[in-house]
Amino acid sequence: MILSILEQGLIYGILALGLLITYRILDFPDLTVDSSFPLGAAVSAVLTLQGMPPWLTLLCALLAGSLAGLVTGLIHVKCHVRDLLSGIITMTGLYSINLNIAGKANLPLFSGETLFRNGFTKSLPPWIAPYATALTILLIALAAKLLLDWFLKTKAGYLLRAAGDNAAVVTTLARDQGMVKIMGLMIANALVALAGAVMCQQQRFFDISMGTGTMVIGLASVIIGTNLFRRASFMKSTTMAILGSILYKACVSIAISLGLEATNMKLITAVLFLLILVMSQAKRKKVRIHA
């Protein structure tokens, strides 16, 4: 069970990195993610079935996700639609596109090779083989985290942080804050689609409904991580998000092992998220009173 918590937690960790950008840095409630997660999965599944090396499908998923972010960004910035609505519009439209990409609502990958089941993983010695999947996912999550850390320290990264912090500063720096927002949404949704692709490779099927609740899971992870480790100033927010997502997955697993049925998964997800949200707000209030 611990292994599966780690595997899924790390996959959702990649997702949390994306939501860290929209929710935490840009302050943009981006619902696109509920569809860009299955978008990544659909792209990865279809391309894998067509014989593309699984790792290459991950890159294609990244690209597809960034396009989804681009659409939401353009709707918000160029058509002046409110942030939440822009995401909902893209999310709704993408549902059909995802179906079109996959061809049907369910796409199993049981027969062929996947990222975690191929000639290489079969040749691994038995003592490491059970951990191969978790290790591979860890590598991908780590690579995504380090790249994001690096990006946030570049000039473009500074601008992204400024856009969420105080957009007026971006404008007075003679930069188009709309473009910066679009850039942020593209990176965020690219990461979310990557998470979807990795998830699809790990569970070896694509399902059209796998994206429902993505935003809630990702947000819960970010909020758990950043609240729990708030005092650990040495820790980067990207690390907090990934750890938060593993913890969150563990909570859900415990809830299920305590007898809650898997059919109630989304309900558990929502209730847990509400609890976390309320708790983090209560804590913030306390700090304000002390201050």
Partner: protein, 257 residues
């Protein structure tokens, strides 16, 4: 030369709340002049700045800089040549970013924001040297998030950030109004020094009549979208706070206040 030519500005056009602020508004400002602007609330001071910066559109008229029509130029593009400091000290800086990160960003204005390192380490000493003479101790706090600073410290930082890179215009929108009297003096003196050193064409809106009289080389008073007083050169030097106050009162009586 900065020119407002026959500007018309109407708020809420086509609704019952339609109000015309500017009707055929004209103003010329010479290069390298330091203009202070006073006037009651709603007189159009801040609207004038917003029109100049492109924050709000106009219904008619043209704005020209050096003869070039910038009426249709987008706001963010206009800031290539302008720096702006707002009344709210929180508006000019990014609170979760450190002093160093804020300065590094401002230092890069006008250049591409690409994938190179955000902070140029070679410039850190220059930033320290810039902050040290202010006597606010900011030079030792480069790693502190700006949100932890006081309003005065943030406003000083915002002023430095706005004037770090080569610009032609400095737009000051009541930038000392939210500060305590002592800090307001410090920020005002710093402003004056920067404007002189860099020969910036400056438009400063203020409610502090003494600042309006003491600083700058031209004084405007605005009322209901019109310039009711315009004193430059020798005339400005002889203007007293009392003169402004009596005019202010006369206008207010007219309005029935």
């Amino acid at each position: 030369m900065l020119e407002f030519d026959a500007i018309t500005k109407i708020y809420n056009p086509g609704t019952v709340h339609e109000t015309s602020l500017f009707h055929d508004f004209n103003l010329r400002i010479e290069d390298h002049s330091f203009v202070t602007v006073v006037g009651s609330n709603g007189s159009g001071k801040t609207s004038m700045l917003n029109i100049l910066c492109g924050t709000i559109p106009v219904e008619a008229g043209t704005i020209r800089i050096g003869g070039e029509d910038i009426t249709k130029v987008k706001e963010f593009r206009r800031y290539r040549r302008m720096g702006r400091v707002y009344q709210d000290p929180a508006k000019g800086t990014c609170p979760t970013m450190t002093i160093l990160e804020n300065l590094a960003m401002a230092d890069n204005k006008g250049r591409p924001f690409g994938l190179t390192r955000g902070t140029n380490r070679a410039r850190i000493q220059a930033y320290r040297d810039m902050l040290a003479p202010l006597g606010l101790g900011l030079e030792d706090k480069l790693g502190v998030p700006v949100g932890n600073l006081s309003g005065g410290q943030r406003q000083t930082l915002a002023l430095l950030m706005a004037t770090m890179t080569p610009i032609d215009f400095l737009i000051l929108d009541e930038h000392t109004a939210a500060l305590d009297p002592k800090t307001a003096e410090i920020v005002m003196e710093l402003t004056d020094r920067i404007v002189r050193e860099k020969h910036l064409t400056t438009l400063m809106v203020t409610h502090n009549l003494r600042h309006a009289v003491q600083y700058g080389d031209r004084l405007l008073m605005m009322h209901q979208g019109q310039i009711v007083l315009d004193k430059g050169g020798e005339e400005k030097k002889h203007t007293q706070v009392e003169d402004l106050l009596s005019l202010f009162n006369a206008i207010s009586v007219e309005c029935g206040n």
